[in-house]
Amino acid sequence: MKIQTSSFKYCVLFILVFMTYKCSDDTLYSDLGHGSLDIDTLSISNIDILNYSIAPNIGANERLYLGSKNGIEVPLSLIQISNSPFWNFQYDSTKIIDSLRFSLYSNDSLINLEEAPNLFFKSDSQFDENTSNYMEFSEFSVAEWFDLGQPDLRINSDTSNSFIYTELVWDIDTLLTALTDTLDSNLVRSFAIHIGNSDGLMEFYSEEATTGDKDPKITMFFRQTGAIDDSVTTDTLSVPIYSAGDLSILKPLEISSDSNSIILSNGMGMRSFLNIQIEDNFLPAGSVIRSADLILNYDTTLTNSAYNVIIDPIDIDTLFEEGTYTYVQDPYEAIGFPYRVSEDAENGLCVLSIKEVLQNISLGNVENLGFKLIANEKNDPFESIRFEMNQDMRLQILYVTN
C-alpha cells in the first residue's frame, strides 16, 4: 500500500511537469504560391482639372503684411484687441491707468521711420479673421479711421549685439476712454496699419506666430495703491492685452487663367478641382490598398522652396457654374479629417497619399465627388506652385486582393 501511494504521488508530479513544460512552436517552411492573396497595381492618368479662385484670406498665416509683391497688393492689415478684464481697471478705485502702448514686432532690422506704417483705430469696425477678404474692404478709407501716426522704433539685440527683433510702439493714451467705454455695446477695438506707398513688402508677426511674446498687443501701465498695516503703498505695474484676431487684406492685381496647369496660391486665392476618373468597381471586391499616390510634377524655376499642398475630397456634390471661376467663398465643401492630406512638394515632385479616401470609395463608404487642391496657409502667400498637366500626372495604386 505504501508503494502504491508513493507511485501515485510521482505520477501526479509527472503529469504536473508534463503540463507546465514549455512548448515549442517553430515556423515551418513551404511553397505557398497557392495562397489566395495577390499583389496588383493600378495606374490612372485620366484626371481632369478645373482651376478656380476665391477672394484670398490668410487669417491663419503667421505674418501680417503691408505693401505689394508678385502681383498681390496688401493695402492694410487689421488687428482686433481682445475684450480683456484689464480694461475694467479704468473703473477700479485702487488702480490708475497711466499709459497705453500698442506694439507690433518685426524680424526686419532695416525698417526706418519713413516707411513705417501708420496705426489707425476704429471702435466699431468688424472683420472676421477666417473669412474677411478684400471684397469687403473695397470701400476702405483711412479718412473714417482715427490716425494714431507713426510708431517709435526699438531695435532689440542680444548681449552679443546680434539683432533679435524690431518693436514698433505707438502711444495710444488718447484712446483710453474709447477703449474702456463700457457703454458702447458694439465696442470691438479694431486697429489697422496702413502705408501710403505700397512699393515693397513689410512683414510683422501675427498672433499665430508666437505664444504671446511677439503678438500684436497693447501694454497697459498702471499704478496700484494698497494698504499694509497703517501705511499706503503704491506699485507701478503693467499688463499685456493681446490681439484676439488679425488679418492682412490681400488683393490680387491679376489672376492667371491658365487651363493647362494646376496653379495654387494663397495670395491669389488660386485653387484647383480634380476629378480622378475612377469607375465604381475600380478595385476587385475585398481589396485593400497598400498605397495610393497622386503624383504631380512642377517647374522648380517658379517655386524654389518646399511648398505644402493639401488635397481634400469633396463632401457635397457641387454644381459648377460654367464660366465662373472666381468666388468670394470656396464653393466646394470638403470632408477634411481623416481624409485631408498635406504634403510638401519638393524637388519638382509632389506625392500625395490618398489611400484612406480611395479605400473608402472602393468600400462604398464615401462617394467620389472629386478633390480640391489648395495651398497650405502656412506657405508664403506671395509664392505659388504650378503643376504641369502631362503624362506624369497620375494616380498609382498598389493593392492586395483575395
Binding site: F14, M19, T27, L28, Y29, G35, L37, Q396
Partner: protein, 427 residues
C-alpha cells in the same frame, strides 16, 4: 528524492504536446488517430485487447468484459522534428478522457472526449519579388492557423453470445479554427482573417468474434451519418500596421482600413467536406493469461464531395486532402497478474508497430509513417486501477519532400475503477 528528480528530468527532456507538423496544414488538419497512439492504456492497436485481457478501451465491443466502471484519462505530448531547416514543434494536451460503465457483463455504455483533428500551424513561404511602378518589392506569404475539431463519443456494447459481441461509437464532431493568411511586404503584413466552425457525426460499428480458443477476430466499420460541414466567415483584408495580428486600433500605427469601416463577408456553409468510410480488421492471439499478440489492418477513404469548394472558400496552408489511408498495426502485450502480491506481477508491458500510408487527393503525393511504441503500466488496488506510460517514435516521409519528419510522443494515462450505481442499504 532520486525518483522525484528522475521525474523532472524525464519531463524536461521531452517537448510535449500535439505538435504542429506539415499534416496540420492539410485539409481540416491532422487527424488525432494518425498521431502516435490514441490512448496510453490501449497501446498501438485499437481493436485488440490491450488494456486488460479481453478489453480494449478503444473498442466498445469489449467493454462489457470489464468488472468495474472505469474513468480513464490520457495526457500526451508530441514533438515533431524536421532537420533542415531545423524545426522543433511541441505542445501538450489531453488526448483522451473516457468513462465506461459495464452493465451486468452483458452490455456497457461509455462517454469520451478526445481531439479529432489539430489545425495549429505556422507556415511561411519563400521570399518572392514583384515589380510595381519602377520599384521592386520582396514579399513573403504565410499562414497562421489555430484550433481544431473535438470528438465527443457516446459508445455502447452488447454481448450477443459467448463468442460474439457488438459495439458502436457515435462521435459528435465540433470545433472551430481561426486562420490568418498573410502577405508581407513593405514593412507590414496584409492579413486575411477567417474563422471556420465545424460540426458532423462519425459512427463506428464494432464486431468481436471468438474464432477458436485464444484467437479472436475484430472488425470495425466507419461511416458518417452527417458528414463534416463547415461554416466559414471571412473578415475583410487589413493592413496590420501595428503588427499584432489583429484588426484593431492599437498603437503604434492604426490598422488599415479602420475596423469600423469594413464588415466581414456573410458566413458561407460548406457541407460534406469530410466523410470517412472504411474498415479495420484485427486478430488477437492469446498465449496464456498474460501474453497476447495482435495484428490489425485497415483502410479508410474520405468520400466527401465538397473538399474543392471548401478549399476555394477557405485557402488552406497545404492545398491537399488525405483521400485514403491504409494502416497496419501489430502489438505485443504483457498483462499484469490479477491476484499476485509480487511487485513485478503488477506491471504490464506493451509494444507495437504502426505503419500508415496516406494517399493524397490532388497529386501523386503519399505520406508514409512508420512508428514504434513501447509502454509500461502499473496496476494498483484490487479493483485494477492502472497507470500507464507510453512512448512512441516514428518517421513520417512525404513523397514530394526530401526531408523526413521525426515524431515523438509521450503519453501518460490513468484509469480508476470503481463500482458505480450500486444500491446501498441505509444504515
Amino acid at each position: 528524492m532520486l525518483q522525484i528528480r528522475l521525474v523532472f528530468i524525464i519531463g524536461a527532456l521531452v517537448s510535449l504536446g500535439i505538435s504542429q507538423g506539415r499534416m496540420n496544414g492539410i485539409g481540416v488538419g491532422h487527424f488525432n488517430k494518425y498521431q502516435g497512439i490514441q490512448n496510453a492504456l490501449s497501446g498501438a492497436v485499437e481493436l485488440a485487447p490491450s488494456f486488460q485481457k479481453n478489453v480494449s478501451l478503444t473498442n466498445p465491443s469489449t467493454w462489457h468484459n470489464l468488472k468495474f466502471a472505469y474513468l480513464s484519462i490520457s495526457y500526451s505530448g508530441n514533438e515533431n522534428v524536421i532537420k533542415t531547416p531545423s524545426t522543433v514543434n511541441g505542445y501538450s494536451s489531453l488526448s483522451n478522457a473516457l468513462w465506461v460503465v459495464p452493465i451486468k457483463s452483458n452490455s456497457s455504455v461509455g462517454l469520451s472526449l478526445s481531439p479529432y483533428s489539430d489545425q495549429r500551424l505556422t507556415i511561411v513561404g519563400d521570399t518572392s519579388y514583384f515589380q510595381a511602378f519602377d520599384s521592386t518589392f520582396g514579399y513573403t506569404r504565410s499562414f497562421e492557423r489555430s484550433g481544431g475539431i473535438l470528438s465527443f463519443k457516446i459508445s455502447s456494447s452488447l454481448k450477443v453470445s459467448d463468442r460474439a459481441s457488438l459495439g458502436i461509437n457515435h462521435s459528435i464532431l465540433f470545433g472551430s479554427s481561426r486562420q490568418n493568411e498573410s502577405i508581407t511586404f513593405g514593412g507590414s503584413s496584409i492579413i486575411q482573417s477567417s474563422r471556420a466552425k465545424y460540426n458532423g457525426i462519425v459512427n463506428d460499428l464494432f464486431i468481436n468474434v471468438l474464432l477458436i480458443d485464444d484467437l479472436s477476430s475484430y472488425f470495425k466499420y466507419t461511416f458518417s451519418l452527417k458528414p463534416l460541414e463547415s461554416a466559414i466567415e471571412q473578415k475583410y483584408l487589413f493592413d496590420d500596421a501595428n503588427g499584432n495580428g489583429y484588426h484593431d486600433y492599437s498603437t503604434a500605427g492604426f490598422d488599415f482600413p479602420f475596423p469600423d469601416s469594413v464588415s466581414a463577408s456573410p458566413e458561407e456553409r460548406v457541407e460534406d467536406i469530410h466523410n470517412p468510410n472504411g474498415f479495420k480488421l484485427g486478430l488477437n492471439k492469446s498465449f496464456g493469461e498474460k501474453i497476447a499478440l495482435a495484428f490489425e489492418i485497415g483502410a479508410l477513404n474520405d468520400i466527401a464531395k465538397n473538399q474543392d469548394k471548401f478549399m476555394s472558400t477557405l485557402s488552406t496552408p497545404i492545398p491537399n486532402w488525405i483521400e485514403k489511408t491504409n494502416s497496419l498495426k501489430a502489438s505485443f502485450s504483457y498483462f499484469p497478474e490479477n491476484y499476485s502480491m509480487r511487485i513485478f506481477d503488477k506491471f504490464s508491458f506493451k509494444s507495437g508497430l504502426i505503419h500508415y500510408i496516406h494517399t493524397m487527393k490532388y497529386d501523386e503525393m503519399d505520406i508514409e509513417e512508420l512508428g514504434f511504441s513501447f509502454g509500461v503500466g502499473f496496476k494498483f488496488k484490487p479493483v485494477g486501477n492502472q497507470i500507464n506510460l507510453n512512448y512512441y517514435f516514428g518517421n513520417r516521409k512525404f513523397s514530394n519532400i526530401a526531408e523526413k519528419e521525426f515524431i515523438q510522443q509521450i503519453q501518460v494515462g490513468i484509469s480508476l475503477a470503481d463500482i458505480w450505481f450500486v444500491k446501498r442499504r441505509q444504515k
